[in-house]
């Protein structure tokens, strides 16, 4: 079934997801949303990796493993980020990045 979909479709999807992630990362002020945007970016990269692996080197597994690594790292990163966010919330009672500006001039 997946063989019926051409490569371009995957790439378009990945690009859309990537820029949605970038857009979210740049415009959102809520830390949780920013974190979700980062996840979107990572996942778009995963899609890219898998699609290229499947279409260019169908008999190899490097791309697949690589995306597994990315997922793992993303999970760890999410854990750390959420811990930081909770701490920020405790300290400032907000997770809006614009209100967290103690070090600004």
């Amino acid at each position: 079934m997946i063989s019926g979909i051409p490569l371009q479709y995957f790439l378009v999807l990945a690009t859309i997801m990537f820029f949605v992630g970038i857009y979210g990362f740049l415009t959102r002020r809520n830390l949780i949303t920013i974190l979700m945007s980062v996840e979107l970016i990572l996942n778009s990269v995963n899609i890219n990796l898998l699609a290229f692996n499947r279409f260019l080197f169908p008999h190899k597994l490097e791309g697949l493993f690589f995306s597994l690594f990315v997922i793992t790292v993303a999970a760890a990163e999410a854990a750390v980020a959420i811990a930081i966010i909770i701490n920020i919330y405790r300290r400032f009672t907000t997770i809006n990045v614009e209100d967290v500006h103690e070090m600004r001039f």
């Binding site: 990362f25 740049l26 920013i34 500006h101 070090m103 600004r104 001039f105």
Partner: protein
């Protein structure tokens, strides 16, 4: 060869005393600190006398000539193989003689100060400064190279500054100390320039090398000319400028009368007997160079000395503050010494002026210290500096009276007191060299006798003054130094200087030349008689004379307006035409440039500080835009 290395302790002992008193003085009892200072000085005096005895009578000379002995020497700063600054002790006739002078006067002044400064605030500070001064002065005379001499020269200036400003709550004392420091410092600039030129052309600082009459250093630089004079002459004139500042020669004399604001023992020690003759000592130290390769500079020395002595003597006739009269008299006598050096030649009987100058330095130190200490005793008794408020004191202060009279007779050149012998040698030297200089000094001899006896009669005779409380004689601790110095003043003239202190170290014969001696005694007696007539009893003659020569009197009374001239030159000319433009340049151009740079930086940073918002998202936006921009560029430019 006798070992003289112990002489290094002569300057070091006062330094140790200074440290002890300076660091722990406030914890000591006042009396104890005075005793420590005096005891240290007593030790120095003993060592100095011992050194002098050994040097002059037991082994300083070989084959009839006194040698220069380097008793101690360490290299302090090594610039090149040849050029290095040493610290050392050089013994030769003049430095050993100065050791005796300094330690004697300083010791007397220490003893005297125990009584004079009794109960003053800052008693231990006073003794600490006295020790510092003695250390510096001894280091100056013992220096074995000109740079060490310069270092101690400045130290002497500093301690003089500290002691003039001893009563630092008194504005006049503060301004006097500043004046003394600035004027001498300005002159020392010339000294430093002279040293630099001298060491540049000769490549050495060392006195023994510099002043060796057969050495190469002395003839170097003689040929190279600048403005018609050889470089050596210029350097010697610059060196002499330092001596003029320290010895208060015209036109740098203005600080000395004001320096009388310090305590009287200080005036006796620093501003009469020791520090102010440092200039004479400097010229004497460099004398072979002056005499052999810079005769023009020696002429400058002679004329500056002669003019200073004449002017100071005229001013001294009109002053009423007794310490100022003595200050101008000091100027005049130092002028004598300078003149004597200036008319001297090098070697043998030619060096008569040199010997006479050192002789007069020695006797002058004794009788001038005596005069100042006597003045101190008078001021102590009357609580005033002005002779108009004194009179008839001979009944109240018998010891001071007799010793003061001895000192006055000595300075007036009445035989057989010591002043006669030394002054006579100077006059003889001047007589054989230049008749005009001789005439000036001859007049000054008469003036000296006149103003000293004007002072004497005004203070001890004259009108009967009513005192608030009866003046009483000073305590023994003050009168004993007076008696010792009076003894020195009477008998110092019999020391055979012509056999001990000569320009080349070789003794020569002198005899009294009656053609000079008799007139000089006569004019001294004339001066005394005029003073007798005018001031023995209160008469109207002085006022009549003053009103007859109104203009001259006014000029002399106002010290020939030298202070006003200096003020005019500094305030009206230097401040207005040099300092003001420089200040403007500094404020507007130098500061302006700096302010402009700062302003530009600040403005720029205000503009761009928005970039550094601290918001990660903005950074990320810039970053992503950059990446996209680059990507677009690469894609379109790839083809």
């Amino acid at each position: 060869m006798i070992n003289y290395s112990y002489t290094v302790w002569i300057p070091l002992i006062p330094f140790i005393v200074f440290l002890v008193l300076g660091l722990t003085g406030h914890k000591l009892k006042a009396k104890l600190s005075g005793l420590i200072g005096t005891g240290g000085l007593g030790l120095v005096t003993l060592l100095s006398y011992y050194t002098a005895f050994r040097y002059f009578f037991a082994g300083g000379h070989t084959e009839g000539a006194f040698e220069k002995i380097e008793a101690f020497k360490v290299t302090w700063l090594q610039f090149t193989d040849k050029l290095h600054i040493d610290l050392g002790v050089l013994l030769d006739p003049i430095s050993v003689m100065m050791l005796v002078v300094i330690s004697t006067v300083s010791f007397m002044v220490h003893i005297y100060s125990i009584g004079y400064m009794h109960g003053e605030k800052g008693y231990e500070r006073f003794f600490a400064f006295l020790s510092l001064f003695t250390f510096s002065m001894l280091g100056l005379v013992l220096a074995n190279n000109i740079f060490q001499m310069y270092i101690f020269w400045e130290l002497v200036g500093v301690s003089s500054y500290l002691l003039i400003g001893f009563y630092y709550t008194k504005p006049s004392a503060v301004s006097a100390s500043k004046k003394a420091f600035i004027v001498t410092r300005f002159a020392d600039m010339g000294f430093l320039i002279g040293i630099l030129i001298l060491s540049f052309i000769t490549g050495t600082f060392d006195f023994v090398t510099l002043t060796d009459p057969n050495g190469t250093a002395i003839t170097q630089g003689a040929g190279i000319g600048f403005l018609g004079l050889s470089v050596m002459t210029w350097s010697m004139i610059f060196v002499y400028m330092g001596g003029m500042g320290k010895s208060a020669m015209m036109p740098f004399h203005i600080w000395l009368p004001d320096a009388m604001e310090g305590p009287t023992p200080v005036s006796a020690l620093i501003h009469a007997a020791t520090m102010v003759v440092a200039g004479v000592y400097l010229v004497a130290r460099m004398f072979p160079i002056y005499a052999i390769s810079a005769p023009v500079a020696l002429g400058v020395v002679a004329w500056v000395g002669a003019i200073s002595s004449l002017f100071a003597a005229i001013i001294a006739c009109t002053q009423t503050d007794i310490k100022r009269v003595l200050a101008y008299s000091t100027l005049s006598q130092i002028g004598y010494m300078m003149l004597a050096l200036g008319v001297s030649g090098y070697g043998g009987h030619e060096g008569l002026g040199y010997m006479a100058s050192m002789f007069h330095l020695f006797t002058h130190a004794m009788f001038k210290a005596l005069l100042f200490l006597g003045a101190g005793a008078i001021i102590h008794a009357v609580h005033s500096n002005y002779m108009t408020e004194m009179g008839g004191l001979r009944k109240y202060l018998p010891v001071t009276h007799i010793t003061f009279l001895i000192a006055c007779l000595t300075i007036a050149g009445v035989p057989p007191f010591s002043g006669f012998w030394s002054k006579d040698e100077i006059l003889v030297a001047a007589f054989h060299h230049n008749k005009i200089l001789f005439a000036i000094e001859y007049i000054v001899a008469g003036l000296t006798a006149f103003y000293m006896f004007r002072l004497y009669f005004n203070v001890f005779w004259g009108k009967e003054t009513h005192y608030h409380h009866t003046p009483h004689e000073a305590p023994a601790v003050m009168t004993v130094p007076l008696m010792i110095l009076a003894f020195g003043s009477v008998f110092a003239g019999f020391i055979p200087f012509n056999e001990l202190v000569t320009s080349d170290g070789i003794p020569f014969e002198t005899e009294i030349e009656w053609i000079v001696a008799i007139p000089s005694v006569l004019i001294g007696l004339v001066g005394i008689s005029i003073a007798w007539i005018m001031y023995k009893k209160e008469t109207a003659i002085p006022d009549r004379i003053a009103s007859t020569f109104k203009l001259g009197y006014k000029w002399a009374y106002n010290k020939f307006y030298f202070d006003e001239l200096y003020l005019f030159v500094t305030k009206k000319i230097i401040f207005r035409f040099i300092s003001l433009p420089i200040a403007w340049f500094d404020r507007h151009v130098v500061d302006g440039t700096m302010n402009l740079i700062a302003e530009i930086t600040q403005q720029t940073s205000y503009r761009i500080r928005g970039f550094q918002s601290g918001q990660l998202q903005k950074y990320a936006f810039v970053f992503v835009s950059g990446v996209i921009g680059l990507a677009v560029l690469v894609i379109f430019l790839w083809k």
